[in-house]
């Protein structure tokens, strides 16, 4: 029998301990980088008549994925130092930020996974004051495992991830909506599950979710049946969304969506569907395509809470030149921008305040459009065309491109250059390159994280 073994082992170890007589204590203290600028949190002085906010003045942090690898790197934008590197579950995960920019989101569409990395830099509203926190980045254990997560859209504190589902395995489409609070507390994501799979999109809007609906193929007006042709208004009840209303206006081959303060827009093959809340109900109209589109359709939309107009991007299949249109959801008009891209755009974004629109192209130019008001009507004009790469764009490695991410706490944009292996700091205020972060790897994608200064998306 082997039963005596643990006893004798125990007896032996005990007798050793008796001989030594007492236990042991060992302490290791490692000093880390101090937190500078952070108020200590205790100077709510007697009679001092100043703000009680405990704020950290920082440019924020930058998450960078390394091409052809599973590495994620986090940099401090104040001193361009590397804070941490960590490995993700899969290679080449799609990088973005959470709705309030505290978390880095990593998406592996084909592996049905979304991971979240805590940037370590966030703000809490304590009622009487705001409180900033600055810690080291950490990989959270929060994960989303929807089937084929594809389009992720954030709006005013909520991030909606549309999981396309999988026809082959009979998995229907679904939506997960998470806030930074849900991620940090490992809470339950708000969810919606459809009856069938689709390549759809969902826009969170307070307690509502406007999401695409795929009808029976026999009824659907979409040419490509995997694209939905209706939009539903869903309402949150006990953590799940329930269909409350289906918008009357159809949207064949629905693809692309965006919001501003009051309006939500969806790209359709015959125009742009615009929805807006009127009391308890949502109303919808279609802004028809204009001849300048020359047969193309708006399949990509951008909006900003501070911008009245939405921007639509129409491009033909397989890339090719894109046409940018401005959409006025009040007057229900579509207008081509005066400036149109010469090269193939690889990224579009609003600046954090919604006053500028950025188009990054594959020739290494950052086109900065500004809103120009003339005779009461505003239109977008090219303010600057910044050459951001000294390299020959033709030497761009296969599968890579320039990418950019917009700071949410100031007029900055960061642009990655995989050829030169660096990240540029671009000031949008004076439209100049102000610095760079040298890398020893090719960046695949970048995302700004930190404390956003005002509502933006």
């Amino acid at each position: 029998m082997t039963h005596s073994f643990p006893l004798s082992l125990l007896a032996a170890s005990m007798s050793v301990l008796f001989l030594t007589g007492c236990g042991d204590a060992e302490t290791t203290i490692i000093e880390k980088d101090p937190i500078v600028g952070a108020d200590d949190g205790h100077d709510h002085g007697d009679g001092c008549n100043q703000s009680n906010d405990i704020l950290i003045d920082s440019k924020g942090r930058l998450a960078i994925t390394q091409a052809d690898s599973n590495m994620l790197h986090l940099f401090d934008l104040d001193d361009n130092s590397q804070l941490d590197s960590m490995s993700t579950v899969h290679n080449d995960m799609t990088l973005s930020a959470s709705a309030d920019f505290r978390f880095v989101t990593l998406k592996a569409r084909n592996q049905d996974l979304m991971q979240f990395v805590d940037s370590g830099f966030w703000r809490e509203d304590h009622g009487s004051h705001l409180h900033d926190f600055e810690q080291g980045p950490t990989m959270t254990s929060f994960e989303l495992t929807g089937s084929r997560p594809t389009h992720a859209i954030s709006h005013q504190g909520q991030l909606a991830i549309f999981n396309d589902g999988d026809a082959e395995n009979g998995i229907p489409a679904s939506v997960h909506v998470v806030t930074d609070n849900i991620i940090s507390t490992q809470g339950e994501p708000r969810s919606l599950t459809f009856a069938t799979n689709m390549h759809g999109v969902a826009e969170p809007r307070g307690e509502h979710l406007l999401a695409s609906i795929r009808r029976d193929d026999a009824e659907s007006t979409s040419a490509n049946k995997i694209l939905p042709d209706q939009v539903g208004v869903f309402h949150l009840h006990d953590g799940a969304y329930e269909l409350e209303q289906t918008l009357e206006t159809l949207c064949p081959n629905l693809h692309g969506a965006a919001q501003n303060q009051d309006y939500t827009a969806f790209g359709c093959s015959d125009g742009v569907l615009v929805a807006h809340q009127d009391n308890a109900q949502y109303e919808s109209v279609k802004i028809d395509n204009i001849p300048e589109l020359a047969g193309k359709r708006v399949g990509n939309l951008r909006g900003h809470v501070n911008a009245d107009a939405l921007i639509g991007i129409a491009s033909g299949h397989g890339g090719g030149p894109a046409t940018l249109v401005s959409l006025d959801p009040v007057a229900n008009t579509m207008q081509a921008l005066e400036w149109q891209p010469e090269a193939n755009p690889v990224g579009y974004a609003f600046s954090y305040d919604g006053e500028q629109f950025l188009v990054l192209d594959d020739q290494g130019y950052l086109n900065i459009l500004g809103l120009h008001t003339e005779g009461g009507s505003a239109h977008w004009e090219l303010a600057s065309r910044l050459d951001i790469s000294q390299q020959d764009p033709a030497t761009m490695p296969e599968g890579m491109s320039f990418t950019m991410t917009v700071a949410q706490n100031g007029k900055y944009v960061y642009v990655s250059d995989p050829i030169a292996q660096h990240i540029l700091h671009v000031s949008l205020a004076n439209m100049q390159i102000e610095g760079d972060i040298e890398l020893d790897f090719a960046p695949a994608a970048i995302a700004w994280v930190g404390v956003a200064e005002q509502d933006s998306e």
Binding site: E31, K32, D40, H42, G45, S128
Partner: protein
Amino acid sequence: MYKVTKVALLVGALLPTSLFAQSIEGVVINKNGKAVAGANVLVEGTIFNTVTDNEGRFVFDDLKAGPTELHISAAGFAHLHQDIEVTDQQTQQMTLTLSRSPIEVIDVVATPIHMSVMESASPVSVLAGERLRRQQSSSLGDSLEKIVGVHTSFHAKVASTPIIRGLSGPRVKIAQNGLDVSDVSRVGPDHSVASEASTAQQIEVLRGPATLFYGSGAIGGVVNIVDGRVPTDSTTRGEWLVETNSVDDQRLGSFNLTTGTDSFAFYADGYVRESNDYEVPVAPELEEEGHDGEGHDDAHSKVVENSAEESSGLTLGASYLFDKGYVGISVEQFDRKYGIPGHSHGEEEAHEHEEGEEGVFADLEQTRIQLQGEYNVQGEWISKIQIRGGYSDYEHVEVEEGQNGTIFENQTEELRLDTVHSQLRGWNGAVSLHYKSSAVAAQGEEAFTPPSDSQTLALAIMEEKHFGNVLLQLGARVERVSLTAENVLLPKIDAHGHDEDEHDEGEAGHQHEDEHGHEEGEGITRVFRADHEFTPVSVSAGVVWDFIPGYNLGLSISRSERAPSASELLSFGPHIGTRTFEVGALFALHEEGDEPYIGLTEEVIDLETANNIDLTFRKTQGDFGFVFNAFYNQVDNYYYQSFTGLFAEDGHDHGHEEGEDDGHGHEGDSEDSHSEEGDSHAGELPVFIFQTDDVILHGFEAQIAWQATDEFKATVFSDFVRARLKDGGSLPRTPPLRFGTELSYENAHLSAHLGVTRFQQQDRIAPEETVTQGYTLVDISVSYDVSVLDQDMSVYLKGSNLTNTEARVHTSFLKNVAPRPGRSIALGVRGYF
């Protein structure tokens, strides 16, 4: 306990372990030769456990030949240990005689060796049955305070926790069915224990070092709350109770139920309780001598504001029963919301917003999953294996003015594996393997301790053997405790003294402003990663000598080591619960020129070591019984908070108006500043640093009971502890000398108890404390059993503090703002089935 049915025994008889199966028939009688029905008979270290029938008879079949031990227990009688030799004879007959014991003897269930008030070398107490129901209260501390050696931290009724022999907090472990309760009650006196007495079956208290069984956190003692959430048998039974109480309009309803089939057992319990702010005999706030207290009597009503409570819990459990044991799982959801009186932002403001402002309250929530199993191997080497596992997820939010102020979280996983070996040369005992991992975090204004992860792995052995009339108990435990905090913060704080020459009367406030200047350098927070590895070792030896029949003498000697807790090491920040600015032992006060500053300590962080001697003298049988305990405990390297003479901001937004007077002047007296509401430094807290010193605790506990007739019983008890620093000085919040008596009358239907308890004045005080006056409490309870619709019920009436005395509790952090409740009458009905 697992009951063996005849069927199970028959099944057991077919198993190969019972090669030399024998049987025993016995009868249990009392001294007068009358049969004792319902006595529990247990064959030590085995599955065999049965209850005597109406003629006092019991039968065991299928016993293994060889020496073994019977343990017989019955209500009102002393437990009997009987060594027997199971021989090859077909059937053995025996008669066992029980002696009366006026002191209730109930076994502790959560230790692998036998322990009870009368039989073990180290002192234990168990509260169960009707006595538990009579003494249960909304908080654990108040429920247990009638046990000798146990006092309550009386935190305005809402968050009282037990103090064992003067020790509490990280030195007293609170366990639920042998597993850590895993709340944050050990780090803050205003944090409630996440456990409930009204659904408990019994509550066990181990006084003095019990690290052997429970590890580091039990150096001062253990409270284990036992219920049947993982049922070990499926006999249908249950209990329900409804009660209302006048002093706080409390309404309580609770139930527990066990039922099942042959193979499956199910359990459920639940309770709901609601109470309002409680009434007190006097204005709750104690006026400070020398301070202007005029008008207070009118201004305050005689209730302790913000002491209301609302809680509920539901537990479900299920087990699979098989002939050699059981395995089961339970889930509990626990919710409690309670006001935190005195958790205000300083006295000055508390006066300003008496009306209309919502106080601070805590909203506590815990989910607890427990797994339990037992397998009676009955092998040559191993007798049985017990497993207990737990997962708990705790969160409590302190809500101030409708905003979430601080969130405390504790996630714990725990596993205990006890292997009880078969009797080996007369030794009974067990080897215990114990693993625990917890992640504790606090976020928000009161987040004085950084998030930390701790892991414990321990191996322990406990053995006992009877040598004639001497019982020897031995134990040892070795632990590996690791504590890691990624970001220990050391902000530069503006701590300053309050010296006489620095402040002119009346202008203190302005002086302050200058001092609180936001100089350069402020705003730099140093960050550390702290990694601690501790290896505490505990050893203990005890003897119980039955020197003449009916009497025994117990001696227990132990050396126990404790790893300091995260809050003792890593704290840095305002702790509103204790009204101090807490700084952990990782830091120390240094001086640069004349300027004091706080930096890393240069001292070695070491284990706390308790060397304890316990002496027990008992009369275990007869109409007259007693238990005397005396103890001497020298704790080396005792972690405690010491006042630095400095003050720091409390981290709250005070919104002081310009020109607001800062209070009663700053005479540099640190008196009362610690925990006392009379503190005049509004918006500031005294800075206390954890440091270590050698401490001596000694004292006694005495219980004497006399069963005068079958109906009348008189009990006298007393306890005392002296807690002092070796180099002179007293520890704070030490219980005063207490003595009391209880007169009971019990017949078949009526049970009545009159209790009188005297708490003496406490004048052995720490420098920051004040003397607390003595007081006498008078309680009475009457219960009458009735049978309605074939249901056993009792209707009861409880009166407490009948003389409506002002009673301030020296052990309470809220001594000066929340005295004990005034006269109260409770009415309730209990039912059993």
